[in-house]
Amino acid sequence: MAVLVGEDTRVIVQGITGREGSFHTKLMLEYGTKVVAGVTPGKGGMEVHGVPVYDTMEEAVEAHPDANTSIIFVPARFAPDAVYEAVDAGMRLVVVITEGIPVHESLRFINYARSKGVTVIGPNCPGVISPGKSKVGIMPGHIFKEGEVAIVSRSGTLTYEVAYALTKNGIGQSTVIGIGGDPVIGTSFTEALKMLEEDPQTRAIVLLGEIGGDMEERAAAMVERGEVTKPIVAFIAGRTAPEGKRMGHAGAIIMMGSGTYKGKVEALTRAGIKVARMPFDIPKLVSEVL
């Protein structure tokens, strides 16, 4: 089964002719993802790694009516527009890789997409992979392995680190979701957990959080309420981060004393979630709960 992306996923790459769009189209194709079309305004008629390019999503969908997922590599100034175009063209899932989108734009397009029942992942995220089925993102495919443990994470590279460690330890993944590092994102921990709770393939969940915001605390509260029954292992990055400093991600900042490492770990622990001290301890903790 897996969630969000799977065998039925048919992808349109928005911004396919750009450096990153083109590069990752190639990698997604190599992974086996069904990339059916690309869109770049003014570049209609081209091909990128054998994928036909259209000027608009409308034309792409007309030619490829089975397309259901978009991945956006468009620069920050134009990315919001690309999201509206994807939603209006009938995509069910829109993965926004782009970094640096103004947060007021994100909150508008996320509200818009939600009002149309469309799921947004990101912005500023690595995407989603269901190993062995489909990869809609920028993660290196070879470090993943099909299996029964889901990962949901605010951090891209940390996700790779953990997935790699799981794989090396023989633990495969059902779906790995990089939800993104911005303060406002389309799918939060709680929303991702809800999907994973219902996914028959997923037997355990790894949650990779960061300092800043209260998403981890909300996830903990959800578990405490009994809404997630599958075992969860968590890790929170930023144990040693100083207060009031933005640690790269706009979302990763301890402000007004909230969003601290300590507060998050306490909330998770109280909910019965095991919190790993280092990400490399995760495989062991996962083995214990599987």
Binding site: T157, M278, F280
Partner: protein, 378 residues
């Protein structure tokens, strides 16, 4: 990016909000004649225009009962560092007698993905203090970003913090202007504290606006980032920002370069776990190319706190070959390597990167724990 109080007030005034009459003085200007020219009658408040938090408590805001006193205070403030920042500008503002002080802020509610208004009848205190001492006084209201803040909602909030009659109408107008400021200037925070209640109307005595850095391209009139003026950054952080690097200075001696905020923080945590102390946070972000990597490495080579350098890269959108090329270029340029460097490389184009590094005589690790152990040995 934080705006200065006087800038936020100018924007509010543009949206029709009455602010206290004031003048702005620069160091070296004749304060007395500027006050007289503007017809500003004492008492006045002299306010250091600095971007540090807690400016008032740190002595940056002083009441003057005469013009001479104002001049004296101004001279003194121009010499006084406020939490480490010496003000370059002062706002001298007519003191406003008032009956009550209110608090209002607008931020983004991350989980609701909507702007949220926070208001309290207890202004003057900061929001953490209010939340601790008078939590029941805080009115919270989400705003639909497509509809905006309706007048009735502004009135409802005003009523809930105890206003009635004309003062309520005045507050509602003020709040709609603050909301407009928040949205039109891509605010992360728009705050006014305290807001004075003066008979029939409300007057903001302070105003803060933090603009989303990602939106600065569409607000050229704000004049770009105030890196030095902000008082938020150390000398090396200022240097880094100017060079386009995402860098935070820390107290240890192990320089860190990594990609992605989560992995960079984890690298810090890892160093600590193995007994080291990170000298910094330096995240080259997603998709860094060789020139950025080179810049980052060169920066840490110069940064004195970093006695050794730990580069921990797991490539996704970032490619191993680009990282390797950047490292090699930085070392080549510096000629003689003065600091020990340990590289860990995994992920996209890992093999290509490893090859480039080994040709330059650098052996890159795959396992981060082996790498960090090596760092500690050096």
């Amino acid at each position: 990016m934080k705006l200065f109080e006087y800038e936020a007030k100018q924007l509010l005034a543009k949206y029709g909000v009455e602010v206290p009459p004031s003048i702005l003085v620069r160091k070296g200007e004749d304060v007395k004649s500027k006050i007289l020219e503007a017809g500003l009658e004492p008492p006045v408040v002299v306010k250091a225009q600095v971007l540090v938090a807690g400016r008032g408590k740190a002595g940056g805001i002083k009441l003057a009962r005469s013009i001479d006193e104002a001049v004296e205070i101004a001279e003194r403030l121009f010499e006084t560092p406020i939490k480490g920042v010496v003000p370059k500008l002062l706002l001298i503002e007519k003191a406003v007698e008032h009956e009550a002080e209110l608090y209002t802020a607008i931020v983004i509610d991350r989980s609701e993905r909507k702007p949220v208004i926070l208001a309290s009848r207890f202004g003057g205190m900061d929001i953490e203090e209010i939340a601790r001492e008078k939590p029941e006084s805080i009115v919270r209201r989400l705003v639909d970003p497509y509809v905006g803040l309706r007048q009735y909602e502004a009135r409802l909030i005003g009523k809930k913090i105890g206003l009635t009659g004309k003062a309520l109408a005045s507050y509602a107008k003020f709040l709609q202007a603050l909301y407009r400021l928040f949205t039109e200037y891509d605010g992360e925070l728009a705050e006014s504290n305290p807001i004075a209640v003066v008979g029939d109307k409300v007057i903001p005595l302070d105003a803060r606006l933090i603009v989303d850095d990602n939106s600065l391209y569409r607000h050229p009139e704000l004049g770009g980032e105030r890196i030095e003026e902000s008082g938020e950054y150390t000398e090396w952080e200022v240097k880094a920002r100017k060079a386009g690097l995402t860098f935070v200075e820390l107290d240890g001696n192990i320089g860190i370069i990594s990609n992605g905020a989560g992995l960079t923080m984890t690298t810090m945590d890892l160093v600590l776990e193995y007994g080291g102390k990170p000298a910094n946070f330096l995240d080259i972000g997603g998709g860094a190319r060789a020139d950025l990597v080179k810049k980052a490495v060169s920066f840490l080579l110069e940064y004195p706190k970093a006695e050794k350098i730990f580069i921990n890269i797991f490539g996704g959108i970032t490619r191993g070959d680009e990282v390797a090329r950047g490292i090699v270029a930085a070392l080549r340029e510096l000629g003689e390597i003065e600091k020990p460097i340990v590289v860990r490389l995994a992920g996209t184009n890992e093999e290509e990167g490893r090859k480039i590094l080994s040709e330059a005589g650098i052996n890159a690790y795959t396992d981060p724990i082996e790498a960090v152990k090596r760092v500690m040995e050096l």
